[in-house]
Protein backbone atom coordinates (compact mmCIF):
# COMPACT_ATOMS: atom_id res chain seq x y z
CA UNK A 1 0.00 0.00 0.00
CA UNK A 2 1.37 3.41 -0.92
CA UNK A 3 1.00 6.80 0.70
CA UNK A 4 0.03 10.05 -0.98
CA UNK A 5 0.57 13.36 0.79
CA UNK A 6 -2.52 15.20 1.98
CA UNK A 7 -2.18 18.56 0.27
CA UNK A 8 -4.84 20.54 -1.54
CA UNK A 9 -4.41 21.13 -5.29
CA UNK A 10 -4.28 24.86 -4.58
CA UNK A 11 -1.43 24.51 -2.08
CA UNK A 12 0.35 22.05 -4.34
CA UNK A 13 0.20 24.42 -7.30
CA UNK A 14 1.47 27.36 -5.24
CA UNK A 15 4.27 25.42 -3.58
CA UNK A 16 5.57 23.88 -6.79
CA UNK A 17 5.35 27.11 -8.75
CA UNK A 18 7.16 29.20 -6.14
CA UNK A 19 9.81 26.51 -5.66
CA UNK A 20 10.32 26.36 -9.42
CA UNK A 21 10.73 30.11 -9.76
CA UNK A 22 13.37 30.10 -7.01
CA UNK A 23 15.15 27.14 -8.60
CA UNK A 24 15.23 28.91 -11.98
CA UNK A 25 16.63 32.08 -10.42
CA UNK A 26 19.29 30.06 -8.59
CA UNK A 27 20.19 28.24 -11.79
CA UNK A 28 20.49 31.50 -13.73
CA UNK A 29 22.63 33.00 -10.96
CA UNK A 30 25.04 30.05 -10.97
CA UNK A 31 25.18 30.10 -14.79
CA UNK A 32 25.93 33.84 -14.80
CA UNK A 33 29.15 33.36 -12.86
CA UNK A 34 28.38 36.54 -10.91
CA UNK A 35 28.94 36.95 -7.20
CA UNK A 36 26.17 38.16 -4.91
CA UNK A 37 28.08 41.42 -4.44
CA UNK A 38 28.20 42.02 -8.21
CA UNK A 39 24.50 41.35 -8.50
CA UNK A 40 23.66 43.63 -5.57
CA UNK A 41 25.78 46.41 -7.05
CA UNK A 42 24.12 46.07 -10.45
CA UNK A 43 20.67 46.21 -8.86
CA UNK A 44 21.60 48.99 -6.46
CA UNK A 45 20.52 47.05 -3.39
CA UNK A 46 22.19 45.59 -0.34
CA UNK A 47 23.88 42.19 -0.69
CA UNK A 48 21.71 40.76 2.10
CA UNK A 49 18.60 41.55 0.04
CA UNK A 50 20.02 39.64 -2.92
CA UNK A 51 21.04 36.79 -0.63
CA UNK A 52 17.48 36.50 0.69
CA UNK A 53 16.04 36.56 -2.83
CA UNK A 54 18.40 33.83 -3.99
CA UNK A 55 17.68 31.69 -0.95
CA UNK A 56 13.94 32.09 -1.42
CA UNK A 57 13.63 33.91 1.87
CA UNK A 58 11.98 37.01 0.51
CA UNK A 59 8.73 37.71 -1.21
CA UNK A 60 9.55 38.06 -4.90
CA UNK A 61 7.42 40.40 -6.93
CA UNK A 62 7.12 40.22 -10.72
CA UNK A 63 9.22 43.38 -10.81
CA UNK A 64 11.98 41.87 -8.67
CA UNK A 65 12.03 38.72 -10.83
CA UNK A 66 12.33 40.87 -13.94
CA UNK A 67 15.11 42.93 -12.31
CA UNK A 68 17.03 39.78 -11.37
CA UNK A 69 16.67 38.42 -14.89
CA UNK A 70 17.97 41.70 -16.30
CA UNK A 71 20.92 41.79 -13.91
CA UNK A 72 21.75 38.16 -14.69
CA UNK A 73 21.38 38.85 -18.41
CA UNK A 74 18.98 35.90 -18.60
CA UNK A 75 15.84 35.90 -20.74
CA UNK A 76 12.52 35.11 -19.06
CA UNK A 77 10.06 32.61 -20.48
CA UNK A 78 6.64 32.18 -18.95
CA UNK A 79 3.49 30.30 -19.83
CA UNK A 80 0.29 29.14 -18.20
CA UNK A 81 -1.78 26.32 -19.64
CA UNK A 82 -1.79 22.66 -20.45
CA UNK A 83 0.68 21.24 -22.93
CA UNK A 84 -2.27 20.13 -25.04
CA UNK A 85 -3.30 23.77 -25.43
CA UNK A 86 0.15 24.61 -26.70
CA UNK A 87 -0.04 21.60 -29.05
CA UNK A 88 -3.39 22.78 -30.34
CA UNK A 89 -2.10 26.28 -30.87
CA UNK A 90 0.96 24.91 -32.64
CA UNK A 91 -1.12 22.54 -34.79
CA UNK A 92 -3.60 25.26 -35.74
CA UNK A 93 -0.79 27.63 -36.45
CA UNK A 94 1.09 25.07 -38.56
CA UNK A 95 -2.09 24.20 -40.48
CA UNK A 96 -2.11 27.76 -41.65
CA UNK A 97 1.49 27.60 -42.74
CA UNK A 98 1.23 24.92 -45.41
CA UNK A 99 4.24 26.14 -47.37
CA UNK A 100 6.37 27.41 -44.56
CA UNK A 101 6.42 24.55 -42.06
CA UNK A 102 10.17 24.45 -41.87
CA UNK A 103 10.16 27.94 -40.49
CA UNK A 104 7.42 27.34 -37.95
CA UNK A 105 9.61 27.10 -34.85
CA UNK A 106 10.90 30.62 -35.31
CA UNK A 107 7.40 31.94 -35.95
CA UNK A 108 6.05 30.04 -32.98
CA UNK A 109 8.73 31.32 -30.69
CA UNK A 110 8.04 34.88 -31.85
CA UNK A 111 4.39 34.27 -30.98
CA UNK A 112 5.39 32.98 -27.56
CA UNK A 113 4.26 29.40 -28.25
CA UNK A 114 6.26 26.86 -26.30
CA UNK A 115 7.64 23.94 -28.34
CA UNK A 116 6.79 20.63 -26.69
CA UNK A 117 9.54 18.03 -26.61
CA UNK A 118 8.66 14.32 -26.81
CA UNK A 119 8.14 12.62 -23.50
CA UNK A 120 11.18 10.47 -22.87
CA UNK A 121 10.41 9.50 -19.30
CA UNK A 122 10.88 5.87 -18.37
CA UNK A 123 9.07 3.65 -15.92
CA UNK A 124 10.92 3.30 -12.60
CA UNK A 125 12.63 0.00 -11.91
CA UNK A 126 11.64 -1.95 -8.87
CA UNK A 127 13.60 -4.65 -7.10
Amino acid sequence: MSYQMRISPRSRTAGRFIARVHAEIQKAFVASGLKQNDLAKKLGVDRSAVNKQLLGQSNLTLRSIADLAWALDAPISFSIGHDEVAHDVKRNFCDGLSDTRTEDSGELSRLGVKTITPDTAREPEYV
Binding site: M5, R12, A14, R16, I18, A23, Q26, K52, Q57, R122
Partner: protein, 163 residues
Protein backbone atom coordinates in the same frame (compact mmCIF):
# COMPACT_ATOMS: atom_id res chain seq x y z
CA UNK B 1 18.71 -10.47 3.51
CA UNK B 2 15.82 -8.26 2.41
CA UNK B 3 14.81 -6.56 -0.80
CA UNK B 4 12.73 -3.43 -1.19
CA UNK B 5 9.84 -5.63 -2.37
CA UNK B 6 9.95 -7.86 0.72
CA UNK B 7 10.21 -4.87 3.05
CA UNK B 8 7.23 -3.34 1.26
CA UNK B 9 5.24 -6.55 1.75
CA UNK B 10 6.18 -6.54 5.43
CA UNK B 11 5.07 -2.89 5.59
CA UNK B 12 8.47 -1.80 6.81
CA UNK B 13 8.71 0.44 3.78
CA UNK B 14 5.86 2.42 2.25
CA UNK B 15 6.07 3.82 -1.29
CA UNK B 16 5.37 7.56 -1.33
CA UNK B 17 3.29 8.65 -4.29
CA UNK B 18 3.58 12.19 -5.53
CA UNK B 19 0.83 13.76 -7.58
CA UNK B 20 2.18 14.21 -11.09
CA UNK B 21 0.87 16.70 -13.55
CA UNK B 22 -0.36 15.79 -17.00
CA UNK B 23 2.44 14.45 -19.15
CA UNK B 24 4.75 13.76 -16.21
CA UNK B 25 5.94 10.28 -15.29
CA UNK B 26 7.69 8.94 -12.23
CA UNK B 27 11.42 8.86 -12.87
CA UNK B 28 12.70 8.30 -9.34
CA UNK B 29 11.18 6.37 -6.46
CA UNK B 30 10.53 7.47 -2.88
CA UNK B 31 9.89 5.28 0.15
CA UNK B 32 9.29 6.07 3.79
CA UNK B 33 9.45 4.13 7.00
CA UNK B 34 6.09 3.87 8.81
CA UNK B 35 7.29 6.41 11.38
CA UNK B 36 8.24 8.84 8.64
CA UNK B 37 4.84 8.39 6.99
CA UNK B 38 3.19 9.16 10.34
CA UNK B 39 5.26 12.36 10.56
CA UNK B 40 4.25 13.32 7.00
CA UNK B 41 0.62 12.65 7.71
CA UNK B 42 0.29 14.39 11.06
CA UNK B 43 3.20 16.56 12.18
CA UNK B 44 4.12 18.14 8.85
CA UNK B 45 0.56 19.30 8.19
CA UNK B 46 0.57 21.47 11.30
CA UNK B 47 4.02 23.03 10.88
CA UNK B 48 4.30 26.70 9.94
CA UNK B 49 7.16 28.48 8.26
CA UNK B 50 9.47 30.40 10.58
CA UNK B 51 11.02 32.45 7.78
CA UNK B 52 9.83 36.03 7.49
CA UNK B 53 8.89 36.70 3.90
CA UNK B 54 8.57 33.03 2.99
CA UNK B 55 5.51 32.41 0.87
CA UNK B 56 5.22 28.65 1.20
CA UNK B 57 4.41 26.50 4.18
CA UNK B 58 6.45 23.41 5.12
CA UNK B 59 3.97 20.93 3.62
CA UNK B 60 4.08 22.84 0.31
CA UNK B 61 7.87 22.90 0.45
CA UNK B 62 8.02 19.15 1.00
CA UNK B 63 5.53 18.43 -1.79
CA UNK B 64 7.61 20.61 -4.12
CA UNK B 65 10.93 18.90 -3.32
CA UNK B 66 9.35 15.42 -3.55
CA UNK B 67 7.84 16.39 -6.88
CA UNK B 68 11.25 17.51 -8.16
CA UNK B 69 12.74 14.21 -7.06
CA UNK B 70 10.06 11.87 -8.38
CA UNK B 71 9.57 13.64 -11.71
CA UNK B 72 13.31 13.46 -12.39
CA UNK B 73 14.04 17.18 -12.37
CA UNK B 74 17.52 18.49 -11.73
CA UNK B 75 18.13 18.63 -7.99
CA UNK B 76 20.42 21.47 -6.98
CA UNK B 77 23.32 19.73 -5.18
CA UNK B 78 23.50 21.82 -2.04
CA UNK B 79 20.18 23.58 -1.97
CA UNK B 80 17.84 20.63 -2.47
CA UNK B 81 19.67 17.35 -2.02
CA UNK B 82 22.83 16.83 -0.06
CA UNK B 83 24.96 14.13 1.50
CA UNK B 84 25.57 14.85 5.14
CA UNK B 85 29.17 15.23 6.21
CA UNK B 86 30.18 12.76 8.86
CA UNK B 87 33.29 10.80 9.85
CA UNK B 88 33.29 7.97 9.11
CA UNK B 89 30.99 8.66 6.17
CA UNK B 90 27.65 6.86 6.53
CA UNK B 91 26.19 8.13 3.25
CA UNK B 92 23.09 9.58 4.84
CA UNK B 93 21.47 12.19 2.62
CA UNK B 94 18.96 14.95 3.17
CA UNK B 95 16.30 16.75 1.18
CA UNK B 96 16.45 20.44 1.95
CA UNK B 97 13.68 22.99 1.85
CA UNK B 98 13.60 26.44 3.43
CA UNK B 99 12.14 25.13 6.70
CA UNK B 100 12.47 21.36 6.56
CA UNK B 101 15.15 18.70 6.44
CA UNK B 102 14.28 15.11 5.48
CA UNK B 103 16.84 12.42 6.20
CA UNK B 104 17.32 9.06 4.58
CA UNK B 105 19.55 6.97 2.40
CA UNK B 106 19.91 5.76 -1.16
CA UNK B 107 19.67 1.97 -1.57
CA UNK B 108 20.08 2.21 -5.33
CA UNK B 109 20.29 4.91 -7.95
CA UNK B 110 17.13 7.06 -8.14
CA UNK B 111 15.64 5.42 -5.05
CA UNK B 112 15.42 7.18 -1.70
CA UNK B 113 14.27 5.87 1.66
CA UNK B 114 13.03 8.61 4.01
CA UNK B 115 13.52 8.02 7.72
CA UNK B 116 13.01 11.33 9.55
CA UNK B 117 11.80 14.84 8.94
CA UNK B 118 12.12 17.89 11.14
CA UNK B 119 12.22 21.67 11.14
CA UNK B 120 15.64 23.03 10.20
CA UNK B 121 15.51 25.54 13.07
CA UNK B 122 14.85 22.83 15.62
CA UNK B 123 17.62 20.61 14.25
CA UNK B 124 20.12 23.44 14.49
CA UNK B 125 18.93 24.50 17.93
CA UNK B 126 19.10 20.96 19.31
CA UNK B 127 22.20 20.15 17.26
CA UNK B 128 20.52 16.92 16.23
CA UNK B 129 22.13 16.28 12.84
CA UNK B 130 24.36 13.63 14.42
CA UNK B 131 21.40 12.01 16.14
CA UNK B 132 19.44 11.79 12.89
CA UNK B 133 22.42 10.33 11.05
CA UNK B 134 22.90 7.70 13.77
CA UNK B 135 19.18 6.85 13.89
CA UNK B 136 19.06 6.54 10.09
CA UNK B 137 22.07 4.22 10.08
CA UNK B 138 20.45 2.15 12.85
CA UNK B 139 17.24 1.73 10.83
CA UNK B 140 19.24 0.88 7.71
CA UNK B 141 21.18 -1.79 9.61
CA UNK B 142 18.02 -3.26 11.13
CA UNK B 143 16.38 -3.53 7.71
CA UNK B 144 19.26 -5.55 6.34
CA UNK B 145 18.40 -4.42 2.83
CA UNK B 146 20.68 -5.81 0.11
CA UNK B 147 22.41 -3.84 -1.22
CA UNK B 148 22.21 -1.59 1.83
CA UNK B 149 23.17 1.71 0.24
CA UNK B 150 25.23 3.41 -2.43
CA UNK B 151 28.52 4.38 -0.85
CA UNK B 152 29.17 7.36 -3.06
CA UNK B 153 28.95 11.10 -2.68
CA UNK B 154 28.88 11.68 -6.43
CA UNK B 155 25.56 12.93 -7.73
CA UNK B 156 25.78 11.03 -10.98
CA UNK B 157 26.06 7.79 -8.98
CA UNK B 158 22.88 8.39 -7.04
CA UNK B 159 20.73 10.49 -9.36
CA UNK B 160 19.85 10.57 -13.01
CA UNK B 161 17.79 13.32 -14.57
CA UNK B 162 14.75 12.86 -16.76
CA UNK B 163 15.57 15.87 -18.91
Amino acid sequence: MATIATLERQRKLVPIEVHLDRGEKAWRVLYGTPDFIAWLDSDLVSLKTTIIGCEIEPIEQVDAVFHEYVSGLYMHPDDRFKKLSCRPDHFVWEFKTLDIRIFGWIPRKDHFICTFGDMKDRIELMRSYGTYIAKTVYIRTQMALQPTHIASAEYHNVLSNAH
